[in-house]
Amino acid sequence: MPVTLERIPGKEERVILSMGPQHPSTHGVLRLVLDLEGETVVRALYDIGYLHTGFEKSFEDKTYSQGITLTDRMDYLAPLSNNLGHCLAAEKLLDLEIPPRAQWIRVLLTELTRIQSHLVWLGTHAIDLGAMSVFLYCFREREDVLHIFEAVSGQRMMTSYFRIGGLALEPPLGWLKHVEKFVKIFPGRLAEYEDLLTKNPIWLHRTQGVGYISAEDAIAYGLSGPSLRGSGPDWDLRKKQPYSSYEKFDFKVATRPEGDVYARYLVRLEEMRQSLRIVEQAMAGLPEGPAKANAPHIVMPERESMKTSIEALIYHFKIVTEGFHPPVGEVYQAIESPRGELGFYMVSDGSPKPFRCHVRAPSFANLQALPKLIEGRLIADVVACIGTIDIVLGEVDR
């Protein structure tokens, strides 16, 4: 029996409505159970698990390197952020030093991921509220970013490009030209979206004052990322607990005090601008040097060296057939994904496979605030509230 709400005796005129899991505005397979009095939502309940694939169990059956491919498929709108979280956790276990060039390319690509993910959010959020053209514009620009990913990693979405110890391989010659082109056109495109929405009276009516949550409630319910910053706190892990040399970049943390759907919209737009600034800085100051750490027992050797060096061949054989042995211990590594705090809790028992790899998925935590946002509001606001917390069901259900 799927989850449902019990009727309250004496309130027989209320309607219990099941919304989803195939509803187009639920961004995947989210099911909501709403208790309606007229058009007002009195109680709400969410039902998830339709995409549960048991990733955490699968991690335990794969080597640390093989696990990277699973992370792409969790938050499929931000695969590189997930790759980064997994790699950083494993590197923390191994106490591995990553060369600056790899760190900077990681920053550059994860910021492009943030822009790309926010574009999908903006497009779908706008179409949920009836603004069709924004959706088409956003997907136009998203395609440019996906082309960059394809140039660099060979894949548009399931990139698996970051590896434990650095990058899978040095990006191809001329890849920065694609990035430069995107950086040049994107500020104009952002202005285009803003022209369509920011002062649009229909947009304002649908978003201002809707889905309010206070800073205290947001913290208590475990909100993170833009959903938290839309209520005031300037908590951003890139600033507060920097990883992958984010401390060397100059950017502002976007916050708004209002705590409604409109505030979170403004925060995400500003984040795209700040991400663009980081991308520009990363391009301008990209260090030379290797893209992989000097750790032959962990990092795959170059194809060329395997033909001339017996050690390289042995290491290759060892890594492929067995993997590597991190020391016994446990780490929690959190990064600021486009949706919030993405944490990887990795426990090693000294074997080549993680004893446990748990993912603290930001979507899963952010979803908890949804009933709080919609209770007492009109049913038409429900889609605005689902859009504003920006969930990806692949990550919610894992």
């Binding site: 048991g54 699968s58 059956d61 475990g222 780490v331 446990r356 935590a365 979803l367």
Partner: protein, 157 residues
Amino acid sequence: MTADPQNSLAWQKLQAYFPDAIENVTSFRDEVTLYIRPALLRHTWEFLRDEPGLEFRFLADVTALDLYPQEPRFEVVYHLLSLENGQRLRLKVRLPGENPAVPSAVPVWPSAIAFEREVFDLFGITFEGHPFLKRILLPDNWEGHPLRKDYPTEGYR
């Protein structure tokens, strides 16, 4: 190098106020783990949340480990975060393999609702006093708890 866990402020303060609460303390890669006795869990949580200088008001995560066939078999793991001073802390509670149960953290941190439901679903650990303890990812009629180590990866066939 790994720092001495006894330098952590949380450990020092807890040691001063609830010396009985801490069973053990470990540190790996500068991350401090406190093992708390289940009986004093609720007091410890409230202390860590409200004490000035600690203020762990953000419960980032709740999960569990299955150490099968060791006994005590389960460890419930809490990841706390303080937005005020940017500190993280890991709490652990050891539980027996037979009817594992632990008090729910929902009265202290409401965000525990979904996290604890997930642990209940995948590990079969009961959270006493939880307002809505039902399976969250798997169907209600699912048999077993997949993240236990004695549950085969490919499932029962």
